[in-house]
Each structure stands twice: as structure tokens, then as C-alpha cells.
């Protein structure tokens, strides 16, 4: 018998299971795009077939960091920008657990930018959802790495002199093997994309456009919502790096003009995940690390054998 019976339990999963029995009152503002991520994630889980005990959601700090307060699973609300390193080690420790990390655009592309690049590069088998509302919300409306050039805020009163981050192309060049963008205002696509991202073997990055009606109500990307287009409609080969790069660049350029392109931009199903790479070179055991502590049959070697070279 496994030490982790929740993992791989074979049964019908309902999306209500992911709503906490006694739900803390969400502190998100009315109309916040974060509700869209929460709902999409709940709808994605039955499609994936995972139950709450085998899912662990790691978040950073900010409005997005509260995701796992309202989502029933194992949760770890870490520190600003650090959800990815905590999450990826949990995956290495127990590959059977479904690991999802989430953060905001400041959290993920700003303070956590270094972790983002390296987690994508290593292609850890996990899903990373970035709530992209182009603003710092919880600290009350400062310019973020995705805020458009010229964006005025309390900390940049004359307007930002910086070009915004291009999260999709950054992700592609860093090495993510699944890259998509969706939007809170497109709930059906969002749930489908999250399900697909979670099922992908490798690092799946979903740039999730979330409106901030309190601090960023003028952002072009949310008005009008009807202009959203699906990536399937512009017909690039999502397995082709170069075509994907071009499509992403276009999508990112048009975002601030109010034309919103969403959907799957790049999928590489061939590339082995980091766990597989580590196992192939003999630096990662087949049996999950965590399981052995609960397995009475495990023989624990001691360092004594290493002393030979010290004699």
C-alpha cells in the first residue's frame, strides 16, 4: 500500500470538492479578475481527474496569493515572488503530487523573475499561473512590470518610462514547454487551458489576464471584452518555436492597443520534464523521496561506507 493513498485515487471528481466547506470571505474586490482564475481552476480539476488531497497550490504574495485560501487542496502561501522554488522542490520530493504555482505579474515577473526564468529553463513538471492585471493591486495601485509604457501611478506620477515585460516571449526563450494566455473574461477557454496546462508534462506557463476594476480600470486589455480572439484562429503551428515566437510577439504588441489574443501559443510535448532528465542521469530515484520515510521496508544507508577514502 502506498504511503500516499490520495494520489491516483480512482474515482469521479466533482468541482464542488475544491470549494472549502467553510469558505473564508474572499477579500478580492467586486468584479476582480481573480475570481475568474479561481473558478477556472475549480472547473479544470474534474477534467484533470485529481482530488483535493493530491493537489498542492503554491502562491506568492498579493491578491493572487490568496488563491489557495479559497481553493480546497493542500496550499502553501509563500513569500513575495518565491512560490516557484518552493513548489518545484515539493514536486521533486513527491512527483505524485499535482503541483500548481500561482502569482501576480509583480510577484512572478518582477521580484520572482529570476525564479521564473530558471524554473522554465529546467522544465519542472508543474503549472504556473500568473495573474496578469498590469498593476500592483494589494499595495494599492503601483506600476508593475507589465504596466504599459507611460502608465501613470502613485509611484510613477509622470508615467512609466519602461517598456513592459513580454511574458510569453520571455517564457519561450527561458524554456517553458507549454505557454498559453487566457483571460478571466473568457471562462470556458480559461478552464480548458488550465486543464491542459496541468496535464502537460513539463513547465506549463499560463499568463492569465485578470482585470483590476479598482486600480487599473482604464487598462485597454479589458475594454471591450468582446474583442478576444483565440490563438486557433490565427493558425500558427503551436509546436513550432519560431512561429510561436512570432505569434507571441504580435499578441504582446497588440495587447495595449486593446486587441486581445489568447489561447495556446506554444506546446512542446517531446521535451522530457526535469524529473525525467534527472532520472536519466541517475541523480533522481524512481521511488518518490517522500514515500521512503513512510515505508517500513526502506533500508536507510549510513555514511559509514564513505569513510573508506578517508583512511
Amino acid at each position: 500500500m502506498s504511503a500516499f493513498n490520495a494520489i491516483g485515487a480512482d474515482r469521479e471528481i466533482e468541482d464542488e470538492e475544491f470549494t472549502p466547506g467553510i469558505e473564508p470571505q474572499p477579500t478580492w474586490c467586486p468584479g476582480c479578475g481573480d475570481f475568474g482564475v479561481l473558478n477556472a481552476l475549480k472547473q479544470a480539476m474534474p477534467k484533470v481527474g485529481r482530488n483535493p488531497d493530491e493537489v498542492a497550490v503554491f502562491t506568492g504574495i498579493g491578491c493572487s496569493g490568496k488563491l489557495n485560501s479559497y481553493f480546497e487542496s493542500y496550499g502553501f502561501h509563500t513569500i513575495h515572488g518565491r512560490s516557484l522554488p518552493v513548489a518545484r522542490a515539493a514536486k521533486l520530493a513527491n512527483p505524485g503530487v499535482e503541483v500548481i504555482a500561482a502569482g501576480g505579474d509583480g510577484d512572478g515577473y518582477g521580484i520572482g523573475g529570476n525564479h521564473f526564468i530558471h524554473t522554465a529553463r529546467e522544465n519542472h513538471d508543474m503549472t504556473y499561473i500568473v495573474f496578469n492585471n498590469e498593476i500592483f493591486g494589494l499595495t494599492k495601485g503601483q506600476t508593475s512590470p507589465t504596466s504599459p509604457k507611460g502608465h501613470k501611478s502613485k509611484t510613477q506620477p509622470s508615467g512609466s518610462a519602461k517598456d513592459p515585460i513580454r511574458p510569453l516571449t520571455l517564457s519561450l526563450s527561458a524554456g517553458a514547454s507549454y505557454i498559453a494566455r487566457t483571460a478571466a473574461v473568457n471562462p470556458n477557454q480559461a478552464a480548458e487551458i488550465l486543464a491542459e496546462a496541468i496535464q502537460h508534462d513539463g513547465f506549463a506557463h499560463v499568463d492569465f489576464l485578470t482585470q483590476c476594476p479598482t486600480w487599473n480600470k482604464d487598462a485597454k486589455q479589458y475594454v471591450p471584452y468582446t474583442d478576444i480572439q483565440d490563438s486557433d484562429e490565427y493558425g500558427h503551428d503551436i509546436n513550432d518555436r519560431a512561429e510561436a515566437a512570432e505569434a507571441m510577439y504580435d499578441a504582446e504588441s497588440k495587447l495595449h492597443e486593446g486587441e486581445i489574443l489568447t489561447g495556446r501559443f506554444y506546446v512542446d510535448d517531446e521535451r522530457p520534464s526535469y524529473t525525467e532528465e534527472k532520472q536519466a542521469i541517475g541523480e533522481m530515484p524512481e521511488q518518490p523521496l517522500a514515500e521512503r520515510y513512510f515505508d517500513e521496508d526502506t533500508e536507510w544507508d549510513r555514511s559509514y561506507q564513505l569513510l573508506e577514502k578517508h583512511k
Partner: protein
């Protein structure tokens, strides 16, 4: 012939000359010959060239410090002199290993220098002859490079130096032959053996002007192993079931990280070199959260980056073991020089009233046992534990009986529940597991935990203040209960430690009038000084403090009550341990003075002797390499 004294052999050259490996082999050969050995490394922060030396002290009695000065110098010349054709000299660096080392050579000492590298003018320029006469040194010029060239390559002059040393010191060359034979193969092996033999023969033929030799080994009762503090920390972690390490290279922490990375896969463990130290500590937290015993670590600057995840581990009650290998600061300071300047940083870094366990082992044995204890406490009490040591203990080698490491492994993950136990554990009305239970059933302050993937164990871990199931809460009543429970663990740990064999080490007569307090890598040097002081008629005892948090209040109170005055000897400029003792005990400000050394070199026993005598006398130190700070009151 006089009583054989300890041989303190210093080999000097440039980085890249094989100084380190040669000295290790030399130490191992002497250990095999039946002597106790101790090594001390000194190296610059550069890859090639510069000035580097290693001392090997060997004797039949205990050799637990580098000793005072040294009595045998083998200089190889700088590595840049290896290819003279390339004009890669900087000034007169080929003479540097000779000139830079003479100041500390004891009276009557022996010098071997490489005649093949140094011209007569070089030697004349440094007045070697005059100085030798003044100090009674015995100088042996020998063409080490020539011998090396004859059978192999220039770089083998280290082997030539070892062979010549063996002849001058009456050491059986068979021990060196054996190490060369086992450690090398093919042409390399043959060439080195030839070089050794030739140099040894030459050393026997030259006229010996000195009349002392290395002590003959009395032998050991049991098999010995030659280990560094970093080896012992790594092996302690492995034996305690650590199967995950994450890190970012930084001197001197890199040592443990490298040893673990090279060995963990053999034990089905995982090692991760990651993007920075914030990530390194965060990964260890993630692995530990998911149910694996995990470790990370760094040195001063990298540890500063870990301050944030360290607090997260405290708040989420995730077990975590960190190693802090100190080097001289502030900032990047002196990368390859030891200091004990990070104590306050280690004790207090991170926001809020943070809690952690901090151990500072003093030698190889303590590195092993206290690392194991750090893991045990971290996983039982769900609290970060830090093993603090320094660049000195990181690299120095000592022989320890092999049987010392004959300890059973401990894979107990501490306060983690099995799924059966979770099913019977306290649950929230929402069916959520009460991970942060206000009042754990056993009356302790530890709320047992679950790990992701376990059925029925769902909870939220968060760095924000949280309620019993982990949800963010600013409820004042909950806040106080959770704070008190987390902080209460330190009292529980103190109680557990007090009930066991003490980590503090005492030396000298119990009823001594004066005390010396020290910590970490300086302990055994201080103990050696205490012996000298008592022989000289003083009445002194010493304590080496290893438990820095929770602090051994009762033990230290007893020690300080029992002496008229205590000198706190440590390697930093501000007397951090002394301040910590005063803070923890709330008194003794008028009873403690400080002896401080922070020039990049650890104390030698004679520094302590001198400093102690000064503290009784004028408060003026005769030289500038130390600072004395008198007692100041509370």
C-alpha cells in the same frame, strides 16, 4: 637529542601548485604512521598564483590546533614560475612563498627552498642567511624542480619536497609511496615514485645541520579516518536521513554543498544547484514541506538572502536545516579567511520575534553529532535549525577513530503523521485538518503535521499569521496563542538539551579562579592555551559554547559564577558572543572582557596566553593583531 616535539610542517606555494592535495596526502601518511594529525589551510581568493600554505601538525599527543608558529617550511615557489618561458611573473613572486612565511617560523626551524626556482640573487635579496643565523634556522636549498623534471614534470616538485622532508625528518618514505601507489596510476605513478625516491636519497646524503626529527608514531588503538568539519557535517546529515540539498556556490559553504552533491545520489537523494540563495532555502522548505528531510546553507552574504525564507520556515513551522559557513565580513569581506562575525546575523536575522535553533560545533566530532541533533530537533519541533561554523573548521583535517561514525541512521521524519493518524486527528468543521492546533494533545507546543498527498491532511501553510487550519487570521486571541506556542518550542528544546549530555565543552581545573569562554572553531586552540597557562602557574579553565540558541542559561550561569573573571575569546571585532551572553543572562557585564582577533587568521594558542595575561595586567596588547576590550558593566 632533545625530546621529539610535534612536527609542524608548512608547505607554501601558489594556488594551483597542488599545495592542498600534497598536504592532505602528507597528513594521511603521518596518520597511517601512527601519529595524530591536524591541518590548517591558508589560501587567497584567486585560482592560480598568490600565496597559499597549509600546515600539518603531527604528534603522539592530542593535536587539536595548528599550534604556535611552525618548525618546518617547505617552499615550492609560486605557480607562475611553473612556465618561466611565458614571462608570467608578477614582481618577485617566485620568492614569495619563502619571504611571506619566514616571520612565523620558530627558532631552530628547518627551511627547504627550491634552488631550481630561486637564483642566488633572489635569496641574497631577502637576507635569508642572516636571518637564519639570528634564529638558528637550518636552511636546505635543493633543486626540487630539477628532480621533478628529470622524471616527470615541474609540478612534481611537491613530491620531491615531500621526499626530501621525509629524509630530513626520519620519516619512513614507505607511507608516502603507498599513498602515491594507491592514488595514481600509469606513468604519473611511476614518475612520482621515482621523484620521491630520488629526493629522499638526496635528503639522506646532504649534511644534516639540525638535530631533531619527527616523532615516531606510537600507533593508534583503532583505525583512524582523516576528515574535515565539512565532511562531518555532510555525513551527519546523510546519517540523519537528509535526502535533499539545494544551494548556490559560495566560499566556504561550497565545501558541504559539493560533498553532499557528490554523495547524495549514492543514497538515492537529490541535490539541486539553483539560481540564488533565496531559491536555495525556498527549495529546502518546499522539499521539507512535502515530507523529505532537507538542508541548504550558505556563507554570510548568501545567508543574508536566506533571511526571508528562514522566517517563512519559522512561521509555517516547516522543518529546515541550514548551514552557515562564516567568512570574514562585512559584505563579501575576505572570502577565504575565517571569522566569527556572523553570530548576531545568524541569531536574529529575519523579521519579527523569530525563533530558531543555532549550534556552533567546535571540531570534526561535534560537526557530526550536532548536525544530527540539528536535524532531529528541526523535524521533531518543526523549527529551523542552523549549524554555524567557519572557514577554519570547514577545511581543517583531523584524524578521528572510524568507530566514532559507527552510528545507526535515523530516518524518523519527526512530528509527521501517517494517514491513519491523520484520520483520527483533530479536524475542522470544514473537514480540514487542524495543522496548527492551538493546544496539541500531548501538551507540547508542537502541532503534528501532514504532507501533501496524504489523505485527509489538507491545510494551508502561510507566512501570514494564521488560525488552526492555516487560514490567514488577524484575530488577536489566535495571534497570541500561536506566537506563544511557536516561541514555547525553544523552552522545550532547552529542556530536552539540558536533560542530555551537554554540547558545551569544559577544560581545565573545575575550581580555577579565571575562565575563558569561546565558541566554535576556536575552542580547541583555547583549550591548548589553558594547559599552557596552568603550567605557567595561572589558575584557568575554559568553556566552549556550542548551543547558541536556545542558550544554556543554567550551565553558563554556573560557569560565570564560579570564576572571578572571564575572558571571551572570539574571532570578530565587536565581541558578539560576549554581548549575547550578557543579553541572555542579563548580567555579568562587569565580569567579562573580550579578546578579539579579526585579521583573517584564527587564534594560535600563544595569542590566547598573551591575551589572557594582558587581561590580568594592563589591557595593552603587545602587538596589533588582536584587540582587548575590558569589562564594561551591564
Amino acid at each position: 637529542m632533545p625530546e621529539p616535539e610535534d612536527l609542524i610542517w608548512r608547505i607554501a606555494g601558489g594556488s594551483g601548485d597542488g599545495i592542498d592535495s600534497t598536504s592532505q596526502n602528507f597528513a594521511k601518511a603521518l596518520m597511517r604512521s601512527g601519529l595524530n594529525v591536524f591541518t590548517h589551510r591558508h589560501y587567497p581568493s584567486r585560482i592560480r598564483g598568490g600565496h597559499t600554505y597549509v600546515e600539518v601538525r603531527a604528534g603522539n599527543g592530542p593535536v587539536n590546533s595548528r599550534g604556535d608558529g611552525y618548525n618546518f617550511l617547505l617552499t615550492l615557489g609560486d605557480s607562475f614560475a611553473r612556465n618561466p618561458g611565458e614571462d608570467a611573473y608578477y614582481g618577485n613572486e617566485e620568492a614569495k612563498p619563502l619571504t611571506e612565511n619566514l616571520d612565523d617560523l620558530n627558532e631552530g626551524g628547518i627551511v627547504i627552498y627550491d634552488e631550481g626556482l630561486l637564483d642566488e640573487e633572489d635569496v641574497e635579496a631577502i637576507n635569508l642567511e642572516e636571518r637564519a643565523e639570528e634564529n638558528g634556522w637550518h636552511v636546505y636549498p635543493v633543486d626540487l624542480r630539477g628532480i621533478a623534471r628529470e622524471h616527470g614534470r615541474d609540478v612534481m616538485r611537491n613530491t620531491a619536497g615531500v621526499g626530501f622532508t621525509a629524509a630530513l625528518m626520519d620519516i619512513d618514505p614507505a607511507y608516502f609511496e603507498e599513498i602515491i601507489s594507491n592514488g595514481m596510476s600509469g606513468e604519473m605513478k611511476e614518475a612520482n615514485l621515482k621523484v620521491l625516491e630520488d629526493a629522499y636519497e638526496l635528503g639522506q646524503e646532504v649534511e644534516h645541520t639540525h638535530d631533531w626529527s619527527a616523532p615516531a608514531g606510537d600507533g593508534h588503538d583503532e583505525e583512524q579516518v582523516l576528515l574535515s568539519g565539512s565532511d562531518a557535517i555532510s555525513y551527519g546529515a546523510i546519517d540523519e536521513g537528509c535526502r535533499f540539498i539545494s544551494g548556490y556556490p559560495m566560499t566556504p559553504w561550497t565545501d558541504v554543498f559539493t560533498i553532499m552533491s557528490q554523495n547524495l545520489p549514492k543514497f538515492d537523494g537529490v541535490s539541486e544547484q539553483v539560481e540564488d540563495e533565496i531559491a536555495a532555502a525556498a527549495l529546502a522548505i518546499g522539499a521539507s514541506h512535502a515530507g523529505v528531510k532537507a538542508m541548504s546553507g550558505s556563507s554570510g552574504g548568501g545567508f543574508a538572502l536566506m533571511s526571508e525564507p528562514l522566517g517563512l520556515a519559522e512561521m509555517t513551522e516547516t522543518p529546515l536545516v541550514l548551514v552557515e559557513a562564516m567568512r570574514a565580513g562585512p559584505s563579501t569581506g575576505m572570502p577565504t579567511k575565517p571569522e566569527q562575525g556572523d553570530l548576531e546575523h545568524i541569531l536574529y536575522t529575519s523579521q519579527g520575534d523569530s525563533t530558531r535553533v543555532v549550534f556552533a560545533p567546535a571540531n570534526v566530532e561535534e560537526c557530526y553529532t550536532q548536525t544530527r541533533k540539528a536535524f532531529e530537533l528541526a523535524y521533531e519541533y518543526q523549527i529551523p535549525a542552523i549549524v554555524a561554523y567557519d572557514q577554519k573548521l570547514q577545511g581543517e583535517l583531523r584524524n578521528v577513530p572510524e568507530s566514532f561514525f559507527d552510528e545507526e541512521p535515523n530516518a524518523d521524519p519527526g512530528s509527521v503523521l501517517t494517514e491513519e493518524e491523520i484520520a483520527e486527528a483533530a479536524h475542522h468543521a470544514s473537514d480540514k485538518f487542524k495543522r496548527f492546533l492551538h493546544e496539541p494533545e500531548d501538551g507540547s507546543n508542537v502541532s503534528p503535521r501532514s504532507v501533501p498527498g496524504q489523505e485527509g491532511g489538507r491545510f494551508l501553510a502561510t507566512g501570514n499569521e494564521h488560525n488552526e487550519v492555516g487560514h490567514i487570521s488577524e484575530d488577536p486571541e489566535n495571534r497570541v496563542i500561536q506566537m506563544d506556542r511557536r516561541m514555547g518550542k525553544l523552552d522545550d528544546i532547552r529542556e530536552e538539551l539540558d536533560a542530555e549530555e551537554s554540547h558545551q565543552t569544559y577544560h581545565g581545573p573545575e575550581d580555577a579562579d579565571y575562565g575563558i569562554i569561546t565558541w566554535g572553531s576556536q575552542q580547541d586552540t583555547v583549550f591548548e592555551a589553558v594547559d599552557h597557562l596552568n603550567e605557567a602557574g595561572h589558575s584557568v579553565k575554559a568553556v566552549g559554547v556550542s548551543d547558541l540558541m536556545p542558550f544554556p542559561e543554567a550551565e553558563m550561569t554556573e560557569f560565570l559564577d564560579s570564576v572571578e573573571h572571564a575572558v571571551v575569546a572570539e574571532m570578530n571585532a565587536s565581541g558578539q558572543l560576549r554581548g549575547h551572553i550578557q543579553k541572555e543572562l542579563g548580567k555579568y557585564g562587569d565580569k567579562m572582557s573580550s579578546l578579539l582577533k579579526y585579521n583573517g587568521n584564527p587564534f594560535e594558542p600563544r595569542d590566547i596566553v598573551e591575551g589572557f595575561e594582558t587581561s590580568l595586567d594592563t589591557g595593552e596588547l603587545p602587538h596589533t593583531r588582536m584587540k582587548y576590550v575590558p569589562a564594561a558593566g551591564d
